[in-house]
């Protein structure tokens, strides 16, 4: 009996691995604040539940500024910035974390850890002015026009967007 179950069990265990290659399925996250779930990815969509700060969520889908998430009780849409993506890690390396955050995990980005060079408070305190380096830095200075050309090359188009102001209850 147990013998017969084994292959099945292996197959079941491998399913999520196969799946991971195709989407960001089963990505987890946690709520950064208390917020409502919406039935659709719009501000005025019907409330489909709520969650509290720190609650863990399963991230199902991303659409524009919204994430579809599953809480213990409900499924619904929430703004991306209400959710901390990924599970908290206790590892001492951030390697690949950004790939995870941007939904591009598993791109095989290798992080070199050899020749680690920190920049501690002590290092900064002991630093001596370096004229050669500052001159080199200044030699890279570009004009506004050169910036514009670079933007054009990437088909970047400016849009009207007023500076964000502090949210209610937040310090300015």
């Amino acid at each position: 009996m147990i013998k017969n179950l084994k292959p099945l069990l292996i197959a079941i265990l491998m399913l999520p691995m196969l799946h991971a290659g195709f989407s960001i399925a089963a990505e987890t996250g946690s709520a950064l604040k208390n917020d409502n779930l919406r039935a659709e990815p719009y501000t005025d969509a019907k409330v489909a539940g709520s969650f509290t700060r720190g609650e863990s969520l399963e991230i199902l889908k991303k659409q524009g500024a919204w994430l579809q998430v599953k809480t213990k009780k409900n499924t619904g849409w929430v703004r991306m910035l209400s959710v901390k993506r990924g599970t908290a890690t206790t590892s001492n390396k951030t390697s690949g974390a950004l790939a995870l955050a941007s939904g591009r995990a598993g791109t095989g980005q290798v992080v070199s850890t050899t020749g680690v060079r920190g920049l501690s408070e002590q290092d900064l305190k002991a630093a001596k002015f370096n004229e050669t380096e500052i001159k080199t830095l200044e030699s890279y200075t570009l004009s506004a026009e050169q910036g514009r050309q670079f933007a054009n090359a990437g088909k970047l188009k400016t849009i009207a967007f007023a500076n964000l102001k502090a949210g209610k209850g937040d310090s300015k």
Partner: protein
């Protein structure tokens, strides 16, 4: 010499300010004898007011010509840090744009003494291109903006007054697209636009001057840049107010969005930083000097609200994102 006159004027101004605040302090102490009077706080308030009122109007003459002369002056006067005697006097009460740039140059030069530029001209050129474009969307497009990636595996970025911005190779390595780089640079650009570090130094200088005045030991060389910024690049390890960091996040996102980038570049980076452990040496300084990334994300989320709901065509440009050689 113009600088000498300026120096005298600023000394006078300091004294006037101090006399005024001293008088105000004495008066309030007299009228409220039962209340404990903290002179230092009164002085701090007076200083805050001074800076708030006087530093705000952004220099009227932001022309390319004045940039060039600032760099010239700085180059001539700051061949070495030990050449304090040849440094120009600094008007701490109301520094000019040129003075701001000269100050930033000193700070940036010290930082580069701790961690030199990555020797990859193509990388530096790329970062300057992105940074220059984002800075053009800020309130101070006319500063001589310059950007550099420095040799360090730490995760951090620095801004010095007048348009000097540096980020570590460790942080760059974490990025996966141009929108994220634009977000990070936008945050640093905002610090310079809002003169966060400059104001911190001004406050401290005016307080020092106040203490010196009280003890009768106010030395002329207190006006020198090198005295103000302390030893090495120590100033770059100092924290700004938390509110300054939140403000820089909001403005950084705003600049990058205006520049045509996908707005979630900076939040992406904050997401990633939130995953690193507090015990990780590579983020020790960043975590010490900034609010936790989770709090920054949360504050940014509150500020954003529904503002990004209809922004659809922002670009991430991972295709042209410059890959580090090592």
């Amino acid at each position: 010499m113009r600088t000498l006159v300026k120096n005298k004027q600023s000394n006078l101004a300091h004294k006037n300010l101090l006399t005024a605040s001293l008088l105000a302090g004495l008066l309030s102490a007299l009228s409220l004898p039962s209340m404990a009077f903290d002179f230092k706080d009164a002085l701090k308030d007076a200083v805050q007011k001074e800076i708030g009122q006087k530093a705000e109007p952004i220099t009227p003459a932001e022309t390319p010509n004045s940039n060039a002369s600032a760099v010239d002056a700085a180059t001539k006067n700051n061949t070495t840090t030990s050449a304090e005697a040849t440094q120009p006097a600094f008007n701490w009460k109301n520094p000019s744009k040129d003075e701001e740039i000269a100050l930033g140059r000193e700070i940036a030069g010290n930082l580069l003494g701790a961690a030199p530029l990555v020797k990859d001209a193509a990388l530096q050129k790329y970062v300057n291109s992105v940074g220059r474009w984002v800075a053009s969307q800020s309130e101070r497009p006319d500063l001589p903006w310059r950007f550099g990636v420095i040799e360090s595996d730490d995760l951090n970025a620095f801004a010095a007054p007048g348009g000097y911005i540096m980020l570590t190779k460790g942080l760059y390595r974490q990025l996966t697209n141009e929108a994220q780089l634009a977000g990070v640079l936008g945050h640093e650009i905002a610090h310079i636009v809002k003169k966060h570090q400059l104001k911190l130094l001004q406050k401290q200088q005016l307080l020092n001057a106040g203490a010196g005045f009280l003890s009768g030991k106010y030395a002329k060389d207190n006006d020198l840049i090198s005295k103000a910024i302390g030893s090495g690049a120590e100033i770059s390890a100092r924290s700004l107010d938390k509110s300054a960091e939140y403000e820089a996040d909001r403005l950084g996102l705003s600049y990058a969005t205006r520049a045509g980038y996908e707005p979630y570049g900076l939040p992406d980076v904050l997401q990633a930083l939130g995953h690193s452990s507090k015990n990780d040496d590579s983020v020790a300084l960043l975590f010490k000097t900034h609010p936790h990334p989770d709090d920054r994300l949360s504050a940014l989320g509150n500020a954003v609200g529904s503002r990004l709901d209809n922004i659809k065509d922002g670009k991430t440009l991972e295709n042209r994102f410059y890959q580090l050689k090592n």
